[in-house]
């Protein structure tokens, strides 16, 4: 394993164990900034780790970023690893990031669906869901982005356990989802929530379960425009943005619909690049440029949140 996060290879995909080891290295190298929190256990009893980046204080306003909730979207976990290192490298010399961390904490869950991720590396590269067993069905797993208590079970998810968008037997049935729900509720001071998927180059905000615009739709649209402009400025990657319902399709039980309804106004979902050719099989050489451009958008959202705390 690499001796330090400086020798870690960010331009390649890694196994679950390598990512967990990376986390431990990053914490060990930066004890005054980074800590690791276990927020729960997955169906197959793997730890659900969240990295906390904080300059101190207690229960400060916070930003949450998660990657890998759909396990086959490998560029997202790999980008999460890159984000973690970026925060450490830039937390003093980047004025914007330094000012964000002066006021807020950042929570980053890199492998949000470890059972599914391990399964993509051993049994089925195309696995998307969790690995929970469903009584009465031979099919395995629930779509963790349809399992949240926001329009749960409505149109835009499937009740068929064999479907890729199966919403599960009940809201928060998946421990990977319940762990985040409990964390968000117990923390109580999260001001921005960003859940990162791939692919199709979109920046989305609630709602997905209904066509009804959210009360803050205008503001979220403006933020999205700024963030997409920043993202595209690096490599010209073309993004669209808008509400989930109007930009892609109706999706019920999704993460950011629930977080928005919890009062986390700045709730967004990213669908990272595929450059129109590779889908979920994005070549490893595109990890770093993807992470770099996405980071510009994330910073835009975090800076806006810092300046508009509520």
């Amino acid at each position: 394993l690499p001796l330090s996060t400086n020798t870690f290879d960010y331009a390649t995909y890694h196994t679950l164990d390598e990512i967990y080891s990376f986390m431990d290295l990053l914490v060990a190298e930066n004890p005054n900034l980074v800590s690791k929190v276990e927020i729960g256990r997955s169906t197959e009893n793997r730890p659900l780790y969240v990295l906390k980046f904080s300059k101190g204080g207690t229960n400060r306003p916070a930003v949450w970023i998660d990657t890998g909730i759909h396990s086959r979207e490998w560029v997202t976990q790999a980008s999460g690893v890159w984000f973690a290192k970026k925060i450490v490298v830039d937390h003093e010399n980047d004025e914007g990031l330094a000012s964000i961390l002066d006021q807020m904490d950042i929570f980053l869950e890199i492998v949000t669906n470890p059972d599914g991720f391990a399964f993509t590396q051993t049994q089925n590269r195309m696995w998307r869901k969790t690995r929970s067993k469903q009584s009465g069905s031979v099919c395995i797993g629930v779509d963790p982005n349809r399992n949240w208590d926001a329009g749960f079970g409505g149109p835009g998810a499937s009740r068929n356990p064999c479907s890729e968008t199966y919403h599960g037997p009940y809201a928060n049935s998946e421990p990977e989802v319940k762990a985040i729900v409990d964390f968000v509720k117990s923390h109580g001071n999260i001001k921005a929530f960003i859940s990162i998927h791939s692919y199709s180059q979109l920046l989305l905000y609630p709602y997905g379960y209904t066509r009804t615009p959210v009360p803050d739709q205008k503001e979220l649209h403006q933020i999205s425009e700024k963030a997409v402009t920043a993202l595209s400025s690096l490599y010209g990657t073309n993004y669209k943005y808008g509400s989930i319902f109007t930009t892609i399709y109706q999706a019920s039980g999704s993460t950011v619909d629930w977080t928005y309804n919890q009062g986390i106004k700045y709730s967004f979902t990213f669908e990272l690049r595929d450059t129109g050719r590779y889908g979920f099989l994005l070549p490893a050489k595109q990890i770093v440029p993807t992470a770099q451009e996405t980071w510009l958008a994330l910073k835009t959202i975090m800076l806006y949140t810092r300046d508009h705390l509520y």
């Binding site: 290879d9 390649t12 995909y13 890694h14 196994t15 390598e18 051993t122 049994q123 089925n124 590269r125 195309m126 064999c162 890729e164 692919y199 199709s200 892609i248 399709y249 129109g276 050719r277 590779y278 889908g279 979920f280 099989l281 070549p283 490893a284």
Partner: protein, 93 residues
């Protein structure tokens, strides 16, 4: 381990509601084992679907019979998966 030899990812861009419906009807045929990477959204939006080799012929024939054009986004899924594994092993070494 699941292999994807001969699987292809096709990109379909329905140009009308009728064409969209053709694609959505295929989505309901579980026996085809289709894996929609990008779900049908609306006319003009790309639909990406991984088609297992056994279903490929009939899937393409159905699209062609209904005048729905498509392109091959990934010729051989297994080749890309193998590439990825090679990269993973190389970097580990």
């Amino acid at each position: 381990t699941e292999t994807f030899v001969g699987h292809q990812v096709l990109r379909i861009t329905p140009t009308s509601d009728e064409e969209l419906q053709v694609v959505q009807e295929l989505q309901d045929l579980e026996e085809l084992q289709l894996d929609f990477w990008l779900e049908p959204r609306g006319p003009g939006y790309p639909v990406d679907v991984r088609v297992p080799f056994p279903s490929l012929q009939s899937f393409k024939a159905h699209l062609e019979a209904n005048g729905v054009s498509y392109s091959i986004m990934i010729e051989d899924v297994q080749a890309l998966v193998d590439n990825e594994q090679t990269e993973l092993l190389r970097s580990r070494r």
